[in-house]
Symmetry: C2
């Protein structure tokens, strides 16, 4: 019997941030595909679209008009999933039905006045303005009494449920700490307690030594495919310094963060020669007033494409019932991405 | 300020089976939709498709030919994500990179020789034969030394990554207990420890009293929209008796289980007048040799459609980074489904 080989044999990998496992089946990349294909959208868009509710000066569903903004623009989502005026309250029955009201603020963040751009098309100095806005929003929202968590994210592409191609992201800020960050809070705290060091900084040291999963790095940030990546081309951008949150980023770090985002998303677009869909999001210190010394900011990228511009990975039956599953190894994905830098 | 109302205000609901929360935003069902539409497939299929590798007598990728089966048929997946021959082994580095080899068996379960049917089109007595096969596979696979968990599931429809419309499901049986069932094992055990009763039987008693989330019931089974449902039309089929696993089902229960599956999936097809895509799966006692007295078998249905046959719910940015989120309330969904029984 041959000996166990990560590049050949089915195995599970542990995610020390979330405490969850992923099933890796490297041999399975060979199976044929007869299933659904995504539509590939290669339309060229206008710089300004009169029917787009995110373009400068246009009217939104609320009846308000956007200002004639020149860089970035943030506003409260007209159909926000969270609202600041939600009355407090809870509901419970038999200890098994449990609900709690949730207050929050949902914002839309326009990255650029140009309707036809995406992050990888933008100049680093313009992405830097997006980083500045994220920083400002994190600090302002986080300061509010009833906001204990600020989730900055982007859904890019129709495949990711994005309903408008104008370059934009969102922020959902709320009273509770959602499940994803709550797990990361717990695991980072346990690690810090035990080792007096940041989990992700120790992890980064291993990755910088191994090199096999690194995609790109600059002076302050590293983009890599995590050892425990779930999505075929999943990556994470990590600061080299132990930063808890975006509020602590200095000017040079914000420039470097913008550069890392630009370089990584440009690489993505080259993988299948298509504007690469993904959801991204920044995980960082909750704004609940605790110190959270263990927290190490990072940005996740979860792109669904697997085999081509039109064949994505489906996280369905087994993945919904059991554990996430992937075919190509994180090392093979990282190599492919690194070759395109 | 109005008082907190589950039908009006954003809130979180707790899932006592998984220990996770879902964000419910009832007011948001009103927002307009400009995003991606699914293709609606209304093609009529042949009873026998000579190019289908699941139809009787046809050749599969392995070169083997399917028998001329008349009811159901199970075989080892030619591209299984799990393999029985995987060598044992593990990999670790710095405590932060951790992988373990995983042995298992991946099977395909053909529900019918007829290429053109789906579960809701089949007769109850033919679905009963699928239940018999599930029972047999659970028992036979579970008996194997290296199999500690048997996951029975179905991906229905191209939207759910199903690569062949021939009616079939899968079984992934493996050495580890995957994350989903592991959480349910823990929460059911904790509840049982505390109350000496089954969590899901107590939950069912509440639901049968409240009635608002019940979709259908027969003598032995109930189909309902869980209070903590994530997907717009998510449901669960539960036995009224405290069954740990499908091996314990008596004949009358297997008939009733088949009837509940038929009735529920028929209702689904009526919601948008389209063959309703979903992933379903049976959660039940792990086959690790432990007694697991707390385990209460149930079948999850996770269908993605939200607004129409072509507009689905996207579990993306916030959902991937934070918590799952839904717009319409579980009560509203249950009412809609119940009206179609
Ligand atoms: O095995 P299939 O039907 O080819 O594949 C489908 O189901 C699997 C199990 O849920 C998933 O891992 C795949 O992503 C999906 O496309
Ligand atoms: O807010 P949008 O872009 O309309 O909606 C999109 O992102 C949200 C947050 O991830 C999701 O809840 C929606 O399902 C998705 O379609």
């Amino acid at each position: 019997m041959s000996s166990f080989d990560l590049a050949e044999h089915p195995h599970r990998r542990y995610n020390p941030l979330s405490g969850e496992w992923v099933l890796v089946s490297p041999h399975r990349a060979k199976r044929p595909w007869q299933g659904q294909q995504e539509e590939v959208n290669r339309e060229t868009r206008l710089e300004y679209d009169p029917s787009c509710y995110l373009c400068p000066t246009n009217e939104r569903a609320s009846g308000e008009h956007n200002p004639d903004y020149k860089t970035t623009y943030a506003f409260d989502n007209d159909f926000g999933a969270l609202q600041p005026t939600t009355p407090t309250g809870s509901f419970t029955k038999g200890g098994l039905l449990r609900a709690e009201s949730e207050r929050g603020i949902a914002k839309v963040i326009c990255f650029s006045p140009r309707h036809d751009l995406t992050l990888p098309d933008m100049e680093v100095e313009d992405i830097r303005k997006v980083v500045d806005l994220w920083q400002q929003e994190y600090e302002e929202l986080g300061m509010l009494d009833f906001i204990n968590h600020v989730q900055i994210f982007e859904n890019k592409g129709a495949t990711m449920g994005c309903s408008n191609p104008h370059p934009h992201g969102q922020i959902w800020a709320q009273s509770s700490i959602p499940g994803g960050p709550a797990k990361e809070t717990q695991h980072q705290a346990e690690y810090y307690e035990k080792h007096q060091r940041s989990l992700l900084q120790d992890y980064l040291a291993i990755e910088l030594e191994e090199k096999t999963r690194i995609v790109y790095q600059n002076e302050h940030f590293v983009a890599l495919v995590p050892f425990w990546a779930v999505w075929p081309f999943e990556t994470m951008i990590l600061p080299k310094r132990h930063l808890q949150h975006i509020g602590q980023m200095k000017d040079a770090e914000k420039d470097a963060f913008a550069d890392a985002i630009k370089r990584l998303t440009m690489v993505y677009d080259k993988v299948f020669n298509v504007s690469f869909p993904y959801s991204s999001g920044i995980h960082q210190r909750p704004t609940d007033g605790q110190e959270h010394v263990a927290w190490h900011l990072h940005m996740h990228f979860f792109p669904p494409l697997l085999r081509s511009a039109s064949v994505k990975k489906f996280m369905v039956g087994y993945e919904m019932m059991g554990d996430p599953q992937r075919d190509i190894t994180p090392e093979a994905s990282a190599e492919r991405l690194r070759d395109l830098v």
